[in-house]
Symmetry: C2
Subunit: 442 residues, 2 copies
C-alpha cells in the first residue's frame, strides 16, 4: 500500500520538523485508552502487517509529485521523501497477547519526523486486527471445541478488512475462513458450503442436493433452510442411501434462519434415527458470541458455526480507542493533558504476574528500567529498521493466543462485562514522572 | 484486487453449475432487507467500484493453481476460470440515490455461474460505501453549510475502508478528507492541521504554533487543546500580530476535547475581541451527527467539523442487511422463503413519485414491464460486460446526492428514527408473482 495512505498533516508536520531541524529521537507508544464496555480484555494483532509496512515504507516519484501539486510543500521536504526509509526501533507485544487499557502494545523509537509520519497507517493496521482478534476471542471462549469459521467477507469494510478479519479470527482460535484469498494469502483452512440461490436455481431442493454432492463429493454440507429446514433435513435423509451407493457420504447440514436451536434438536433426532450420526450440524445467519452461547446453553446439538458480519465488523464495538502518542522527545518525557485524554509520559514496559497455576494475577505499566518482577510483555522486534530475529508465524501467534486465553482469570472469560476485574497498576515511577512533566510544562 | 476475493462456495457452486450445464441466464438483485433502526433512508454508493470490478474480473495462473491445490476442483472448472470474463448486463441506481428497504439498487443479468460468482465482492464493494454515504448524509443534514472533513483513516477497517470512506463521505456532501491517498486517488480536497504530539515535542506551545505557521503559512489551523484550550486560544491571539508582521494570517483553531461548546463560545469571544474575526473554529474528537447537532443546537460558533471513527466505521450501525439474491433463472422467477428472510421474486424496477415541489412522495417496487408512473431509479449501466455510456464522475454523484437530500420528505431529514415514514409499496404484479412462485415450489 502506498506511503500516501496517511493523514495529510503527517506531511505538514514532517516539513515543519525538517524546517526546524527537529530530528532528534522520539518514542511513541500505541495503546488503547479505554476498553469498550463490551470487552473484558483485548488481543494484540496486526503486528506482522505493521512491521511489513515499516520495512517497505518508501515514496514513489508519482506520490511525491502529488505532494508537490498540493502546494505549500517545499523542495527540501520533497527531497527528504525521495530517500525516506524507516530506520527506527520497535518493541511490541507478540501477536496473540491479551492486554488492557493504558498498556502500550507497540513502541516506536526513531527520529521525530519519521516516528510521527508512520502514525496513521500503524494505527490503521494494528487497530483493526486487534479489534477483530478481540471479538473473535469472545466467540472462541463461548464455543469451546466447536468448529468456527469466518463468514464475514461480504459485509466486511472492504477488501483489506475481509482479509485481515480472516487472519485475526484465525489467530484468535477460529478454524478457518470462507474467504478464498485470505486462505491463500495466510495459509488458512478454507471452508464453504452452498448458497440459497443454488437451491433456488434447481427445479427442486433434492435436485440441488444431488448435483452439489456429485460435484463436490468430499463430505458435502447441504443447506437445508431455503424453503423449510426440517423438510430439507428429510430430503437429506431420503437422498443419503442413493448418494452412499455412489460412494458419497454427506458431511453436514447447514441451518441459516429461524429457531435454530429447535431445528438443530429436531434435525439431530431425525438424522440419528436414520442412522446418519456422522452428519454434522452447522449453523450460520446473524450469529455472534451471544447467540452462539445461547444456542449452546439451550443444548442445541450444533457442531460448528459460521460467524460473519458481527465478527468482521466487530458489530457491538466497531472501533477501539486506540492512539499513538509521543512519550519522549530528545530525552525529555512528554505528556498530553487534554480533558479526558491525558497520557502517561516516558518509555514504558508492561509487566505481568501469574499465580502458581499460570493464571494471570495483575499487570503493571512501568518505566523501562524499573525492576521486572514478572513477564515483560513488550519485546524488541525491530532495530534500525530491520527485524530482530525471525518473524513468528501465524501458527505461533495462534498458539500464543490459545495459551493467553487459558491464563485469563475466570471472571474475564465470560461474555458479561466485568468492569475493572483485572488489576492494571501504574508504577510509582510513572506517577512521579507524570508529576514532574506537568510541573515543567505549566 | 484478486478474483479470489470471494467466498470459496462461489467456486464450488460454479463447478456444480458447469457439471450440470446450468448456464442459462439468471438475474440477481442487490438490496437491503431492513434498514438499521438509526437510519431513515440510505444512499447508494460504490457502484463505480462495482463496475470496475466486473470490467476487470479475471483469474491469474497463480490463483488457478491455488484453486487446484484445494482439491475437489476438476480440470473443467480450472479451464473455465482461465478464460472467465464478466459478460453480463447490469442495471443500477446512480450513486447518490436515496433508497429504502427491499428496493434493488443493483441488478445483474448473466449466465448463472457468472452472476453467482460475483456476489461476494459486489456485496463487499456496494455494502460498505452505501453504509458510509448513508452515515455521512446524516452529518451533512445535521450541519448545513459547515465545513465537513473525513478524519477517520486511523480507525477505519483497513486501507480500502479508509479510501472508500473518504470517497463515500465526499459523495454524500462532505468537503474533503485528511487521507492523502484518498485525495490523490479520487481527486478530493485534502485537509490537515497538526497533532498534539507536534505541540508536545516543542519546548512550548507558542514555539510549536510559530514553527507550524512559518512552515505552512497558508492560513494555518492551530490545535489549541494540548494543555488548556483557552490558554491555547490566548497564545494564538498573542502570536497573531507577530505572525501578521511576517505576512502569515492564522486560518483557524482546532478544538479536540472537553466541553467544546463552551470552549468555542469563549474562544470566539476572545478572538473577536482581539480583532481576529477571520479565524475559524474547527472541532474534532469523537464527533458524530448527534454531537454535531448538539453543538450547533447549543449555539456553539463552530465553522467546521472533522468526523473520524464514527463516520469511517458507521459506528452506530456498522453494517447493513445487504443481500444479493437470485430472482430469475432460465426465465422462471425464484424466491427464498426462509423464516424472516423471504424475498420478492422476478426482475424488478423501483419507481419514485414526487409532489409539485419536487419532494419525494412514495416509491413502488414493481416488476420490470409494469407501467411507469414516476422516475424509474434503476438504469442500464453495463451491457455484455461493457459500460453503457460514459461513467458519471464523482462530482456528478455528489450533485445527485445533494439533490436527493433536498427532495427528502421533512420527517426523514431529522436524526431521530421515524419508522416507516416513507411509503414503499410492493406492486400488485409482484404480489401475484410471489404467490405463483410459492404455489409452484411447494
Amino acid at each position: 500500500m502506498t506511503a500516501l495512505l496517511t493523514d495529510l498533516y503527517q506531511l505538514t508536520m514532517l516539513q515543519a520538523y525538517l524546517d526546524e531541524g527537529m530530528q532528534q529521537e522520539a518514542t511513541f507508544e500505541l495503546f488503547v485508552r479505554k476498553l469498550p464496555a463490551q470487552r473484558n480484555f483485548l488481543v494484540a494483532a496486526g503486528l506482522e502487517q505493521a512491521l511489513q509496512f515499516l520495512e517497505t515504507l518508501a515514496f514513489t516519484d508519482d506520490e511525491i509529485a502529488w505532494v508537490e501539486r498540493q502546494g505549500g510543500f517545499r523542495p527540501a521536504l520533497l527531497d527528504h521523501l525521495r530517500t525516506l526509509r524507516f530506520t527506527g526501533d520497535v518493541h511490541a507485544m507478540p501477536e496473540g497477547t491479551v492486554f488492557f487499557a493504558d498498556e502500550p502494545i507497540l513502541r516506536v523509537t526513531a527520529p521525530l519526523p519519521l516516528a510521527q509520519l508512520v502514525e496513521s497507517r500503524l494505527l490503521n493496521l494494528v487497530h483493526f486486527q486487534t479489534l477483530i482478534a478481540s471479538k473473535a476471542a469472545r466467540v472462541v471462549l463461548a464455543a469451546p471445541a466447536k468448529l468456527l469459521i469466518d463468514f464475514g467477507m461480504r459485509r466486511a469494510h472492504g477488501a483489506e478488512a475481509a482479509l485481515f478479519a480472516a487472519r485475526a479470527a484465525y489467530l484468535a482460535g477460529f478454524d478457518g475462513t470462507a474467504t478464498a484469498e485470505a486462505a491463500r494469502r495466510y495459509g488458512l483452512p478454507a471452508f464453504g458450503t452452498m448458497a440459497h440461490s443454488f437451491v433456488q436455481a434447481h427445479a427442486s431442493e433434492a435436485d440441488a442436493f444431488v448435483a452439489f454432492a456429485r460435484s463436490r463429493p468430499q463430505r458435502p454440507t447441504l443447506l437445508v433452510d431455503t424453503y423449510d429446514p426440517l423438510q430439507g433435513v428429510q430430503r437429506v435423509i431420503d437422498l443419503a442411501p442413493r448418494l452412499a451407493a455412489e460412494g458419497i457420504e454427506i458431511g453436514g447440514i447447514r441451518l441459516d434462519s429461524g429457531d435454530m436451536a429447535a431445528q438443530a434438536r429436531a434435525g439431530r433426532a431425525m438424522l440419528d434415527a436414520a442412522g446418519l450420526r456422522g452428519v454434522r450440524i452447522f449453523a450460520s445467519g446473524n450469529l455472534d458470541e451471544w447467540r452462539v452461547a445461547e444456542l449452546l446453553a439451550a443444548g442445541a446439538p450444533i457442531d460448528g458455526f459460521g460467524i460473519g458480519t458481527a465478527l468482521d465488523t466487530s458489530s457491538d464495538a466497531p472501533s477501539l480507542d486506540a492512539v499513538y502518542k509521543l512519550q519522549v522527545y530528545a530525552g525529555v518525557a512528554r505528556r498530553k493533558r487534554s480533558a479526558g485524554k491525558a497520557t502517561w509520559p516516558g518509555v514504558k514496559q508492561v509487566v505481568r504476574r501469574f499465580d502458581a497455576h499460570g493464571r494471570m494475577l495483575a499487570d503493571r505499566v512501568q518505566l523501562e528500567g524499573e525492576p521486572l518482577d514478572g513477564e515483560p510483555l513488550l519485546q524488541p522486534v525491530m532495530r534500525g529498521g530491520r527485524r530482530v530475529g525471525a518473524a513468528p508465524t501465524l501458527a505461533d501467534a495462534r498458539r500464543r493466543c490459545t495459551e493467553q486465553l487459558r491464563a485469563l482469570p475466570e471472571p474475564l472469560r465470560g461474555l458479561d462485562p466485568v468492569a475493572d476485574a483485572y488489576p492494571v497498576e501504574i508504577s510509582a515511577g510513572l506517577h512521579a514522572l507524570a508529576a514532574a512533566v506537568d510541573a515543567a510544562t505549566r
